[in-house]
């Protein structure tokens, strides 16, 4: 049994382009997910019950169904419903962002609830509105606390983004499959791909650890 590492080596530029797409997908999805999740996380604990219930239903639906099904629903279901074609990249970004938003919502909610109610009381006693309390007092403290779980979400999303290969979007896994159909070298290629994912996730966790240190020095 011989290993053909040269095939992996020659495929690296092609795979690297796929990895770049993976990074792009993940970054945009978590970025959009962060915005969706912040609004949703606040909605989960706001004083208007209908909004609370809607947010809870959204979070339950996303967390209670497979991401793969959500991708199919967005890529194939939505075009049928709206009768216009859905580009692969749009579908992938939409599905991943909506998914990430639900997980981030729970992280944000927990972050907000971890802030001492005394902080809110102090700000209210000074004459702040509820919105000012959130913006200047609660959220800045909460965001600092949720950096580690957000980092985890980033890593999870990086790995889960491989699922969009099923709609033929050429990210890392899809490209690996294409290489393998040409070369018949699954072991070398998949091992190489696994290693590329590992490098990316390790880089993220180092970055998160760095940000955590930076911010804790500030206060």
């Amino acid at each position: 049994m011989t290993f053909r590492w040269d095939i992996l080596y020659r495929s690296l530029p092609y795979l690297w382009e796929g990895a770049q797409m993976t990074i792009k997908l993940t970054t945009i999805a978590v970025g959009a997910g962060f915005m969706i999740g912040t609004l949703l996380g606040m909605a989960r604990i706001c004083q208007y019950k209908p909004l609370r219930i809607l947010a809870a239903i959204y979070v339950d639906f996303i967390r209670g169904t497979p991401l793969l099904v959500q991708i199919f629903l967005v890529y194939m279901g939505l075009p049928q419903l709206l009768s216009f074609p859905m580009p692969r990249l749009t579908a992938a970004l939409l599905a991943l962002s909506l998914n990430s938003g639900a997980y981030v919502a729970e992280i944000v909610r927990a972050g907000i609830q971890s802030i001492d109610p005394g902080q809110t009381e102090a700000a209210l006693s000074l004459g702040c509105s509820n919105a000012q309390v959130m913006r200047y007092i609660v959220l800045p403290q909460a965001f600092k606390r949720i950096i580690p779980p957000l980092g985890n979400e980033f890593i999870a999303m990086l790995k889960d983004s491989s699922l969009v290969s099923v709609i033929a979007l050429e990210e890392l896994v899809r490209r690996a499959n294409i290489v393998i159909t040409r070369t018949y070298r699954p072991f070398e290629i998949w091992l190489g791909v696994a290693f590329m994912y590992l490098v990316m996730t390790l880089a993220i966790s180092r970055l998160v650890a760095y940000m955590e240190r930076r911010l804790s020095v500030d206060v």
Binding site: E121, L124, C128, Q141
Partner: protein, 240 residues
């Protein structure tokens, strides 16, 4: 300044305030004493609506804050509060803590807000700590910053909720000194405390609360020398 009539507060089935009626005049220093669980803090927190009363009326400066139509934010701008656990904003320096409300609520310019904040920090003896974060300050220093923060809105009255109860004994004095200076300037103050020395020296009126009502109210000379109520006598004999 404050007019309270038949104030009630329930927490679920727990009846914490059972009809409190009293009024507090401008410039008066009222000290509320009583055993824990008697409703002192709840009463104080009703005065700026951090607790929502379940019955009765409260007037602050002529505005009925128990009326849902009243803009409570406007009233809170004129009523400062100091908390047992300081509740300084940990992500801001001492100066930013004090400048926060003038900047965001009063919408002063950054320059004006910082100037006002620095003046107040100097006033509470912490001019040199302006750029320190709360966790770099001692408890007594934090509480003095918290007093400066409340004063930064130039309130007409100040509420103190056990301001020295979570301080080490050697730091209590520095906080009480600041409060005494404030009282001497004519600030209207409502103080929940266990510091009987402060009540006796600085207070104009002492309220003894027990079991959700005001059992007795009298000037400190009378309250501490010849209390008329049995429960007051029992409480005072235990702590004096």
């Amino acid at each position: 300044m404050f007019k309270i009539h038949d104030l009630h507060k329930h927490f679920g089935s727990l009846h914490v305030l059972k009809g409190i009626t009293c009024s507090i005049a401008k410039g008066q220093v009222v000290v509320i004493i009583g055993p824990s669980g008697s409703g002192k803090s709840t009463f104080l927190r009703c005065l700026n609506l951090l607790e929502k009363p379940t019955g009765g009326t409260i007037y602050v400066n002529g505005a009925e804050i128990t009326d849902p139509k009243t803009d409570i934010r406007k009233v809170r701008e004129d009523v400062g509060m100091v908390f047992q656990r300081f509740n300084l904003f940990p992500h801001m320096t001492a100066l930013e803590n004090v400048a926060f409300a003038p900047l965001r609520v009063r919408q002063l310019s950054k320059h004006e807000a910082h100037e006002r904040a620095l003046d107040l920090l100097v006033k509470v003896g912490l001019g040199d700590k302006a750029s320190s974060y709360p966790d770099q300050l001692s408890g007594g220093q934090q509480q003095r910053v918290a007093i400066a923060r409340a004063l930064a809105m130039r309130p007409k009255a100040m509420l103190f909720d056990e301001p020295t109860s979570s301080l080490d004994p050697e730091m209590i004095g520095e906080v009480l000194d600041v409060m005494q200076a404030l009282a001497e300037e004519g600030m209207t103050m409502v103080v929940v405390t266990h510091e009987m020395g402060f009540a006796r020296e600085v207070g104009d009126l002492v309220l003894f609360m027990d079991d959700g009502i005001i059992m007795e109210q009298a000037p400190p000379e009378i309250m501490f020398s010849c209390p008329s109520n049995e429960r007051t006598q029992a409480f005072l004999s235990k702590i004096l």
